[in-house]
């Protein structure tokens, strides 16, 4: 099985962090899935050999977790939270909106492999629900009319640049540029 040098280096490094090789299972699976999009039977055997385990040990772990895939999602994967707090703010309607706009049912990949939608359980941002994760970025308050516009942006691939929707991650404060002068020793701000 072919893996990029970068991934292989990362895998070796991550295995070294744990006292026992088996602990690295999930992290290695993530690294392989990040590169290949899913975990195939071949990948399971490769990982088992790498960690000195039996294939069934890896197989058990791979099939337990919903975020580890046996087949890849679409190029753009949309995750919508379905648990109560977001549902109370209309996440099911948001999901239906996305289904209509992207032309794919929840839990499936579109025919052309471009889009897929998945219901997730609580994404831990309930105060700003409904929460939708697109390509690892967490978008908040995706409801009603905003959901319509949001779905359009996802379809056109312009979501990342759209200023109406700033993901939680992009909304974090950026570090100030460090200049030698601005770093005063012992400076405190209460």
């Amino acid at each position: 099985m072919e893996l990029s040098k970068d991934t292989l280096t990362k895998i070796d490094e991550v295995i070294g962090r744990y006292p026992e090789k088996r602990s690295a299972t999930l992290m290695v699976i993530h690294l392989v899935q990040d590169e290949q999009g899913c975990i195939t039977d071949e990948a399971v055997e490769w990982i088992a050999e790498k960690l000195e385990l039996q294939p069934v040990n890896i197989y058990e772990v791979v099939t337990f977790y919903p975020m580890i895939r046996r087949e890849p999602w679409g190029k753009t994967h949309v995750r919508v939270c379905r648990t109560l707090p977001c549902a109370l703010r209309g996440s099911y309607k948001t999901c239906r909106t996305l289904e209509e706009k992207l032309g794919v049912k929840e839990g499936h990949v579109s025919e052309d492999g471009e889009f897929s939608i998945e219901f997730m359980e609580c994404l831990a941002d309930c105060g700003k629900g409904p929460v939708v994760i697109v390509d690892e970025k967490t978008y908040e308050d995706v409801q009603g009319e905003a959901a319509e516009k949001f779905a359009e942006q996802v379809k056109n691939g312009t979501l990342a640049k759209d200023r109406n929707f700033t993901s939680y991650e992009d909304g974090l404060a950026k570090p100030r540029k460090k200049t030698v002068a601005s770093k005063k020793k012992g400076a405190r701000r209460k």
């Binding site: 962090r17 744990y18 006292p19 026992e20 088996r22 602990s23 690295a24 299972t25 999930l26 992290m27 699976i29 993530h30 960690l51 385990l53 040990n57 058990e60 772990v61 337990f64 977790y65 919903p66 975020m67 580890i68 995750r79 379905r82 648990t83 109560l84 707090p85 549902a87 109370l88 703010r89 209309g90 099911y92 309607k93 997730m120 359980e121 609580c122 994404l123 831990a124 941002d125 309930c126 105060g127 700003k128 629900g129 994760i133 690892e136 970025k137 939680y168 991650e169 974090l172 404060a173 950026k174 570090p175 100030r176 460090k178 770093k183 400076a187 405190r188 701000r189």
Partner: protein
């Protein structure tokens, strides 16, 4: 009487303008001063401060942290491990996210102090995989800390070494259960272990003594060291010390997260004053005070009894104080601090069906009652919401839930059973009425037509 103001200790800087999650910013705000103090103190002294502070776990169980550290088996000769439970998955909770994304170094400092106090050999942060950027932020923060010898080998020249490893989950709520987390960290299916004999403080990860603490709890350790255990114990009220971050979601005007001293305000003040009340034209129907595992409170309920300190109480839902013991006295729990508010537009049966679907999906499947019972309850609730409800269903639901509670390996059984028991008990009329309702029409519009399942 004016409503109490927030007392931001943990979240002091998280949302401050320009406060970023890198090390220079943290250092500018007095970061790692407490770690410097810690490595000059004796580990047992730090443990004593934590015990004196009376701080209770903020992950959901509310177990006194100092006592948990006392249970640690320090005599076995096996290495000790510290695990930070950053698998925040309890529906309604979103406080640990704020700490991880906006102020990760506070967590790292708290962890290093705690690791030093319990003399841990290595520490892990088990973070849920849905926090994609969170894991990267933590990795960066740990690398920054290591570069300045605030973490890793020979911390601050003290001779104490402890590395922190960020370990990602992959979308399972059961990994928030401490022994499930330990199994997942060991690379196996996250099936919780039977206790006895596998108490983490004795036989934890790799069968070595382990302490598993929540993100917020570990951050508190830093502040306990700063102000001293005694001073910390004076915040809040007796037996409910310190501050807590409450997360309000659902049908309020201004949902969000707020840090208050324990007992500083009531549930009503939180909903109506801090969060701006319900949506226009709506009235309160139900509140879940502590994440979806907690029992639901009906808006017109009254709670009477005697508290642990002997005082009598007679509360409506809005009078319940927001601390550990208050919601428990009202027959529920404060759990992870996730308050979910439901107004009168909500179909209660659908709300419960949504929660049952969550538990059925997240059950690990190891033990019989939770595995079969949670799925059975989900099947009954979904059938009830699609027009197949019968009058005997609510009693059946309660009976099934009673057969799960107390019979399982871990507390997931209770977590799955309590919502059903409380929803049916307190809203029986709606459940019975469901038997005479036709299946809802998915396409019907209207402000009240809110589908939850």
């Amino acid at each position: 009487m004016a409503v109490a103001k927030e007392k931001r200790i943990i979240l002091k800087y998280a949302d401050a303008k320009g406060y970023s999650n890198d090390l220079p910013c943290y250092l500018e705000h007095g970061g790692y001063d407490m770690l410097k103090k810690a490595v000059k103190s004796k580990p047992e002294d730090i443990c004593e401060e934590v015990l004196k502070s009376g701080v209770r776990g903020r992950g959901g169980a509310g177990f006194p942290t100092g006592m948990k550290w006392k249970f640690l088996d320090r005599k076995s000769g096996k290495p000790i491990y510290l695990i930070c439970n950053a698998d925040e998955s309890e529906p309604g909770t979103f406080k640990d996210r704020q700490i991880i994304y906006k102020d990760p170094h506070q967590l790292i400092e708290g962890m290093m102090i705690s690791a030093y106090a319990i003399q841990a050999k290595q520490a892990f942060i088990y973070i849920r995989a849905e926090f994609f950027e969170g894991a990267r932020i933590l990795d960066r923060a740990i690398a920054e800390a290591k570069a300045k010898k605030l973490c890793g080998d020979n911390v601050l020249g003290s001779g104490y070494s402890c590395d922190i490893v960020v370990h990602r989950g992959a979308g399972a709520y059961i990994c928030g259960e401490e022994t499930g987390l330990i199994e997942s960290l060991e690379g196996k299916r996250p099936n919780p272990r039977i206790k006895p004999p596998y108490f983490p403080a004795v036989l934890g990860v790799y069968q070595c003594p382990t302490i598993v603490n929540n993100v917020e709890t570990l951050c508190n350790v830093k502040h306990i060291l700063e102000m001293g255990g005694d001073a910390f114990s004076k915040l809040g009220i007796p037996n409910n010390t310190g501050t807590r971050i409450w997360c309000v979601s659902g049908q309020v005007q201004n949902p969000g997260y707020f840090e208050f001293e324990c007992g500083a305000l009531t549930l009503g003040e939180m909903i109506y004053d801090v969060c701006g009340g319900l949506n226009p034209g709506r009235s309160l129907k139900a509140v879940i005070p502590g994440g979806s595992s907690a029992k639901v409170l009906r808006s017109d309920e009254r709670f009477t009894g005697t508290l642990k300190d002997g005082t009598e109480f007679d509360w409506g839902v809005t009078d319940i104080p927001l601390d550990f013991d208050g919601p428990m006295a009202a027959g529920s729990m404060s759990g992870s601090g996730g308050i979910i508010v439901m107004d009168d537009s909500v179909d209660i049966v659908e709300a419960m069906a949504n929660i049952n679907a969550f538990y059925a999906h997240e059950s690990c499947g190891q033990c019989t009652p939770c595995r079969e019972g949670s799925l059975w309850m989900r099947k009954i609730s979904t059938r009830m919401c699609s027009g197949g409800a019968r009058e005997e269903d609510p009693d059946l639901l309660v009976s099934v839930a009673n057969q799960i509670e107390g019979r399982t390996i871990c507390a997931f059984g209770e977590a799955a059973a309590w919502p059903t028991q409380s929803f049916v008990a307190k809203f029986k009329d709606e459940f019975i009425a469901k038997a005479n309702q036709p299946a809802p029409d998915d396409d019907a519009e209207g402000p009240a037509r809110l589908r939850l399942i």
